[in-house]
Every structure is written in C-alpha cells, then in structure tokens.
C-alpha cells in the first residue's frame, strides 16, 4: 500500500507530494496539499471525504484535467512508469479516455444532450482508434449490452434525455470502458442515483473490474459504499490525506479523530438506535485560510490532550502506525488506539 517516501515495488499508480492551488480574488485556494498515495494494479482504492476535502481535485489531477494556466500544480503522478504532471497536453489527451477513464457524478451534464448516445460512444472510440463507422457502432453496441442496457440495439439511437438516470450512468460507464482503460476513476458515480439503482451500478463496476482487471479509484462520501467496494481507503480532510488503511483496518481500528468522527456521525441501519447521533462539531475549514497546525484541530475534541499546543501550531505528518496504516495526528499512537476502542465500543452499544 502507500508508503511515504520509502521504496515501493512499482505500484501501478503512485502520487508523490501532489499540491494543487487555485489563485482567486479572495486568496489562494489550497485545494490539495502534500497528497501521496499508491495503488497496486487491479485493486480498488476509495477516497473518502466531505465537500472541499480535495478528493475530486485529486482525481482531476490524475486525469490531467487541472488547467495549468489558472492553477498551480506541483508533485509527481506516476502511472505505470509514466510521469503525468509534466506531460505535454497531446500525450495527456491520448491517455485520457484511453488508458485512464473517468465516470462523473452527474450523467445528465456529462453527456451531450444533442447527440445520440451511440454517436457519443463511437466518438470516444474514434478519439483513440481509427476504424469504420460500422465497426465502431458494433463495438459500442456490444459495450452497451455488457453494461446491462436492455434493448441496446434500440437504445443506442436514443438521446440522453430519453434514458433514466441509471441508464445514463450505464452509458457513461460504457463510454469510459470502451477503450479498455487500465485505470478507472469514479467520482461519486452513484450519488445522483436511487439506492436500488446504486446497487446495480456498484455490482456492474465490480463485475467489470473482475472481468477486465481494471484498477479503480472510487471517490465517495458514503462510508457504506466504501465498505462495499474498497480494498484500501484514503480519508481526506482540508486538502490532505489524514488516514490511509486497508478497508477492514479502517473500520475496525481507525485512529484519526476525524475518521472516528465520521463513523460516529452517520446513522446506521445495522446498529441499535441511539437517541442522538454524535456529530463532529463545527464546520470544515476554508481552503483559503487553513488552520496553521492540524487542519482538523478546530473540530477535534482530543487536541487538548497533546502537550504544548502542537495541534495548533505544527502540521502533523502522515506516519505509519502499522503495516499499510498511516495516520496524520499528533496524538501518541497508544492514546489514539485507546480513544478509538472507547468510541467504537460506545458505537457498538456499550459493554
């Protein structure tokens, strides 16, 4: 999994010290700072965070969608031996939609309303391969069938507005998969969908991943989806990764107080009802004026346990606490684990 700095055995995707900042009239928006992570081929990494945490900007950086003219971007992104940050625009263009593909949250605004879905998919094919219209249409039709669109031979000539939300999202997935990508970035792919459709789409992505051996980055705010699909999880807050762990570890032994706060604040159907939820107090920080110390400190209920106000003044490092489990927190590891046990115990209904 992720290691910060140390040698790695050639992960499929490796991000080193990525920073993205957008100058605005109000000041510099530090959307992402010091993000380092890596994924092995064929695995699923979930990036979890709330709005403004930097998760979508990280995905856009991998896709080469950050406008270098208006944004400052530093760091390295290595995809299968190729460095993406300094890559010329035309090479990036060749990569996008080919080796790397993305599914967006809102399929209605990601599909062109004036074109039939079939021609939008064949356009994606032609951007990367040269082939006749008939052959391209046949490939598009085959892919629409594979993503489970009923009567695909009819639907291929539909306009996006003629399809339901779930069907549109399937078209998006078909378009993303049409050039056999090796890395699929799914940015909140089911947020706009109903739970029963969400279940269909998640099963679809999982089965296609199994079939094609795709590496998946799943960006979401839903800890239920993470539990369902992810091998590893990176939790983002205030533009940085605050905790990384294998999925099982993150839910069983989270150590960062923010992760604990997230787990405590969600209502869950698998637990006894508690009268009240335990929300995280306060609001997320503004990316224009981040706190000088730990970005979570203003909302952290444990920062007073750290001596000499370190949480207020010193940015904590993302450090390994056990194999593959990294935490960005000033609290001593022993104390973090004790807090974690106590909180999870209460969540599980005492005793």
């Amino acid at each position: 999994m992720t290691t910060s700095g140390g040698p790695t055995e050639n992960p499929f995707l490796e991000i080193k010290d990525l920073a993205v900042a957008f100058p605005t009239e109000d000041g510099l928006v530090r959307a992402v700072e010091g993000v380092s992570l890596s994924i092995e081929r064929g695995r699923t990494l979930a990036i979890v965070g709330e709005s403004g945490s930097g998760k979508s900007v990280t995905a856009q950086a991998i896709m080469g969608l950050i406008d270098r003219k208006s944004a400052k971007m530093t760091g390295e992104i290595w995809l299968d031996g190729q460095e993406l940050v300094g890559m010329p625009a035309d090479e990036l263009q060749a990569l996008r939609g080919g080796k790397v593909a993305m599914i967006f949250q809102d399929p209605m605004s990601s599909l062109h309303p004036f074109y039939r879905v079939g021609s939008q998919i064949t356009e994606a094919i032609n951007a990367h391969r040269k082939m006749g219209a008939k052959a391209a249409r046949a490939i598009a039709l085959d892919m629409l069938r594979r993503v489970g669109i009923p009567a695909a031979d009819r639907r291929i000539d539909d306009y996006p507005h003629q399809l339901s939300g779930g069907m549109r999202q399937r078209v998006m997935i078909a378009m993303a998969l049409i050039n056999a990508p090796e890395l699929l970035i799914a940015d909140e792919p089911t947020t706009a969908l109903d739970v029963t459709v969400q279940a269909q789409i998640l099963e679809l992505i999982a089965s296609l991943q199994g079939e094609f051996g795709i590496t998946v980055i799943m960006i979401t705010h839903d800890l239920g989806i993470v539990a369902d699909v992810a091998d590893e999880v990176a939790v983002m807050y205030g533009g940085r990764i605050v905790e990384v762990a294998p999925t099982g570890v993150l839910y069983a032994q989270p150590e960062m107080p923010y992760t604990l706060g997230l787990l405590s604040s969600i209502p869950r159907m698998d637990r006894e009802l508690s009268e009240r939820l335990e929300p995280i107090p306060g609001n997320p920080p503004s990316p224009i004026s981040l706190p000088p110390g730990c970005v979570f400190q203003p909302r952290c209920t444990y920062s007073d346990r750290v001596a000499a106000g370190a949480c207020l003044n010193v940015r904590p490092e993302l450090l390994e606490t056990s194999a593959g489990h990294l935490v960005r927190c000033h609290l001593p590891a022993e104390e973090r684990r004790q807090i974690s046990r106590d909180v999870l115990n209460v969540l599980a209904g005492g005793s």
């Binding site: 269909q200 539990a227 839910y251």
Partner: protein
C-alpha cells in the same frame, strides 16, 4: 370532518395528478401523470412519520400537496382539525401558522438579497404578528436556538455554509411555533458530519416544542434515526407503513425488502457478506403505470393476480399496513443470495437486517418501545373506500 385527539395531520385518499399537454398550436391535455394516487396516512402530535421512496415515487408531491403548494386533484387533507383542500390561497393563510416546511436545498430556499434577519423574520411580517419584544429580539432568540450566532442578524445567506443555511431555514420554519413541519429531504444536500448536527437539532426541537414532522427522505438510515413510523412509497402509492422498528426489522412488502437490502452498510465485514435483491429495470412511467400492483413489473413475488387486481393497503398486524397480495416475512430461497456469508451466522438472514425467520409475531410488536407504537391509526382501507368521492 374532525380529527381524533392528538392527531395533527390526516391525509385521506390524496390524489395529485399533473396534466400532460401536447405540443402544437392548440395545446390540449393528452394524459395525466398520477404523481400521487390514493395515499392515506396520519401524523400524530409530536410524532415523526418518515416517508421514503425513490425518485419518481411521489413523496415530494405528497409533501407539497399537504401544504397546498400544489393543489391536489382529489382527497382530503385535515390539518389540526381543519379540512384545507377547498380553501383559497387567502383562506389558507391562517393554516400556514400551523404548518411550515423545510426545503432540501439550503442554497435555493433562501433569498440571496435578504439578510438572515429578514428571512427568519418574514413569517411574522407576512402573518402580521408582532412577537413580544419585537421582531428583532424574537429572530435573534430563534437564531440562538438553532445554533446560529445572533450577531449575524444582518449577514446575507452567501456568508453561511450549507449546514448553517439549513439552520436558517429551520429557524424560519419554527418562527410561528407551528404544530407540523413538512421536511423535504432536509439533510440530503449536507455533508455527513453536518447531517448529524441537523438531525439532532430537529429532534431537540421536536421535544422542546412538541412538533410533528412529515419527514420526506430517500436515505433509509436517516429516516430510521428520526422517525416513529415509516411509510414507503412507490410510483404514487403507499406500499407499506409501520412503526419504525417493524419496517426495518420485519418488513412484509417485497419492495421494502429490496430497498433495505440495497443500502450499503458501513461495515466491510457485514457488507461484503450481505446479499442484495437486485431490482430489474427502472421505475415504470407514471403516465402509463402497470395494471394491478404498480410494483409487479420489478417484483420477485409477482404472480398473475398482481397484474389484475390492485392490492389494497391492509392492516396485517396492529399498525402495520401492507399493500401486497403476497407479503413476505422471510425472503424465499433464491432471492438476494448473491453473497451468502451471513447465512452461516446465527440471527442474520438473507436481508442481513432481520432476525432469522423474520416472522413477525404480535409479541414482537408488543415488545416495541412505547414511543414506537403509533399514537394514531391511519385510515383503514374500508373507511378509505367509503370516504372517497
């Protein structure tokens, strides 16, 4: 028509249809979208009825119809003893003191050109009420109550975060001390850490002011957290309605089973071992709904009878209403068994949420905490038939 004691809202056979017009020189009505088609329920005093369903189920139309924001096509709505469907907009004004609404999108529900003080104080101005101590004092007290800084009285909505804007919307809704608040997806636009703050606030306000909520949402975990009773809608019809614990632990309608099984649980061990009931296809068009039971086209229980006969909403157990010819307590073999790790674990059945066997007994119902029992009983189907015009 009078209401029973302790009943704030009674909705009987509510029907809200929207005309479908043809394009052309002389537009004419060519069909109807039956957004809500014969829905009946009640909300008791200080009770929360959760109304869940997917997009297109008609839950938002129910919410808007209850407050006459859209005029229902038929049926009766009784708020605190008064039938309101025949009232003119002007005659509805006094009703609006009793029933208020909280909207989904805290960005669009507040006028960006008005100050927070002006927004929260608007109900006083519109209703011509002078609160003791003046509007400003009353508004600042409300701001304090919902967790806003009263010094921000003169600020504009864009200076507030999503969670704070939802607090502004809540302060506005409780300004007139209503008895009923219709909440339309009040937390779905908020981040999870903020969601919990708002859910807790709504619950505290309910205890403090004895508020009744009609809580419309698609998030089943959120609805479970806040509701005393839950009603499940599909394509304009009520499918099932029961006390909260019954709906979640022992549902009887196949659609409720499917919904519950589709919600991913934030526990990788449990979730990876759960199975889902995969619903085939999409919601049918509400312009041309299926004959018989509207859910039959996607139902794993569907049989011939379902396409012929509309299943009435009947009370199968005390307080537990189901509209299904073939209700299921235990999922039949072969349904939702994609992943069956949990089959080996005692006490967890295929849905992963209900006790093994899943059979509901009246003993189980009796063991519900007192606050889960319905204070008021909804209309029985027979009564509903009699009352419908």
């Amino acid at each position: 028509m009078t209401t029973e004691a302790g009943e704030i809202l009674r909705v009987s056979d509510l029907r809200t249809y929207f005309p479908v017009r043809s394009h052309g020189l002389i537009p004419h009505v060519v069909g109807q979208v039956k957004a809500v088609d014969g829905v009946s329920f009640t909300v008791g005093s200080a009770e929360t009825l959760g109304l869940v369903g997917e997009s297109g189920s008609g839950k938002t139309t129910v919410a808007r119809s209850v407050l006459m924001l859209v005029r229902p096509t038929g049926g009766e709505i009784v708020i605190d003893g008064q039938e309101i469907t025949h009232l003119s907009s002007k005659a509805l004004m006094p009703m609006r003191r009793k029933a208020q609404m909280i909207f989904q999108d805290p960005y669009n529900a507040l006028n960006p050109r008005h100050t927070v003080g002006g927004i929260i104080g608007a109900p006083y101005r519109i209703q011509g009420i002078q609160p003791p101590g003046g509007v400003r004092t009353a508004v600042q007290a409300l701001m304090e109550r919902v967790g806003l800084n009263p010094e921000h009285y003169n600020r504009y909505p864009n200076e507030f975060s999503g969670g704070q804007r939802q607090r502004i919307g809540i302060a506005r809704a409780i300004a007139l001390r209503p008895k009923l608040i219709v909440c339309d997806e009040p937390v779905s636009a908020l981040d999870v850490s903020i969601q919990a703050q708002i859910i807790n606030l709504l619950r505290d306000l309910q205890h403090e002011f004895g508020l009744s909520y009609l809580f419309v949402a698609h998030d089943l975990a959120v609805v479970r957290q806040i509701s005393h009773r839950v009603a499940v809608m599909y394509l304009g019809h009520l499918m099932e309605m029961a006390p909260r614990n019954t709906i979640y632990a022992a549902p009887l309608h196949p659609y409720t089973h499917s919904l519950l099984s589709a919600v991913p649980i934030p526990d990788p061990v449990l979730q990876k071992g759960r199975s889902r009931i995969m619903l085939e296809g999409d919601l049918p068009s509400p312009i041309n709904p299926p004959s018989g039971c509207v859910f039959r086209t996607r139902c794993f229980q569907a049989q011939e009878r379902c396409s012929v006969e509309v299943p009435p909403l009947v009370e199968l157990e005390p307080g537990h209403y189901v509209a299904c010819h073939f209700p299921v307590a235990t999922l039949p073999a072969g349904v939702g068994i994609a992943r069956d790790v949990l089959e080996t674990e005692p006490g967890v059945s295929a849905s992963g949420l209900q006790p093994a066997g899943g059979q509901v007994s009246s003993a189980q119902l009796d063991s519900l905490p007192a606050d889960d029992r319905p204070d008021s009983t909804p209309l029985r189907p027979q009564e509903r038939v009699r009352r419908s015009r």
